[in-house]
Amino acid sequence: MWRMRRPGVILLASVSLVSGALSPAWGQKGVAFPDGTWKGTAIFTGSIAKQGVFATGSAGITFTLQVRGGEVTGGVLKMSGSARSRVAGGGRANLDVSGGLSLGGTARRVTVSGMLSFSGTASAQGFEVPVDITVPATGSFSPVTASCSQVTGDLATETRAVQRQYGFSTTVRALFVAVREAGADASDVVEEYAALVEDIHEAIAQAKGASGTPPTVEQLRELASRAAALQNAIATLKVCGDAPEGFEKGLASPFFSDLFRQLVLMLLERADQLTVTQLIALAYLAYEIGAVGTPSPDPQAAQDAEDELVLALNAKLDFAIEDGDTDAILSIYTAAQQLAIEDLAAKAKSALGGFIEEGGTDEQDA
């Protein structure tokens, strides 16, 4: 038996065909496997040719894929078939191909990695040698069409591109159809919702308690990030009707914005203990979570909170002017421009004085 432990230059060249850095060029179009468990099948078939060399093969392919939150959380692709090659002069190889490859990546671009085994015989110049090799194989594929029940595409899209890159003409195809066997598991979404609500209430209770200590801006940021992640997860589940009971219409945003506003106001009561950077971070966070700003479901409460926020920023600006802290003044100035707080912006601009050129335009944008 010929085992290719030191395959040589030509085989190394082949490895460059089957492994290496993956390109971001594929899977950019937004078609994705919806969350759930998918089972797919494909027939890999076709041939390649180039200047007196020819190879052809066919293989059956099955795969299972678990997708959650747009990420592939598990899956395996199994391939089994045969392939033949020949070169001008009479050399031939007949090999069986098999392998089980792991799936990863994202719902838009599924990555494939593992080992493929080739076994059979190769004959050249009258001699026949047995072949039994295992080579690393990597690649990826992307869906072309996707619904909540079926996804289609071609597993060989990248393969063809690689083959053409190396000068081969190719007819290789591996059209696949995948069907959703099970919807996404939403139980952890319900658990996270309950945990988040509890944590927010706990933060409010702590601030109102004997210690009177509100969460830090960073802790509030963390709570807000969890709320955004939860909303993302529910939105994803909704697409294919997998949202858990009670969340069919999505996350009740007003509920969180009211609770978050309470925390923002508690932090503003201690604004003198915040740095300029922390206060500005709180301002952007307040708009992000709907505690202030036009989309807030309670406009009056949002306006009152926004007024408090502007007062706190004004106070910080006064301190920065007193201290001659131009970095802080500049930071407040840019934030005030972005958040359309005109009086604050004018005051900061005036403080920065001669640093600012009139006009506010720039010839070299970007």
Binding site: S14, A25, A137, N232, T236, G250, L330, F355
Partner: protein, 143 residues
């Protein structure tokens, strides 16, 4: 050609026919912005944040805002303001793209801010110490 080399070539052909691998290339970057557009004023700051997306027109009600990374930046501050000067949404984070409201692919009817009419958006990059290191243009956007 030696027997070994020929046999290897035959095996290689089979591998080439049956497997896939690397492709070079990537998504095209958006072109540079126009000149003489309003900027966020930041005297003494020379860094610029190049805004990439969305387009100024037909951006949709829940556009995805995207800009080029700034090497010295630790976080980015984004603000979206409507025509009347009211803040539609603001955000601070490390990413260089974010959907309005922070929820990617938000389904129709899902709660959250929307771009109901013409407005504008801008990005300010700040470093680890909170210093402003780059500012963007104030770019128009309409659904």
């Amino acid at each position: 050609m030696s027997r070994t080399r020929e046999a290897l070539l035959l095996v290689v052909l089979v591998l080439a026919a049956c497997t896939s691998g690397d492709i070079s290339g990537g998504p095209e970057a958006a072109g540079p912005e126009g000149s003489s557009v309003p900027m966020i004023e930041a005297p003494g700051v020379e860094g610029r944040v190049a805004l990439l997306a969305p387009p100024e027109e037909e951006a949709g009600e829940v556009p995805v805002f995207e800009w080029e990374a700034v090497p010295a930046a630790a976080t980015y501050r984004l603000a979206v303001v409507d025509e009347g000067g009211d803040v539609v949404w603001a955000w601070e984070g490390v990413a260089t793209s974010v959907a309005l409201g922070g929820v990617a692919d938000r389904p129709e009817g899902e709660a959250g801010p929307v771009l109901a009419g013409p407005g504008s958006w801008s990005v300010v990059a700040v470093d680890q110490e909170g210093r402003v290191v780059a500012v963007s243009a104030i770019r128009s956007v309409a659904p």
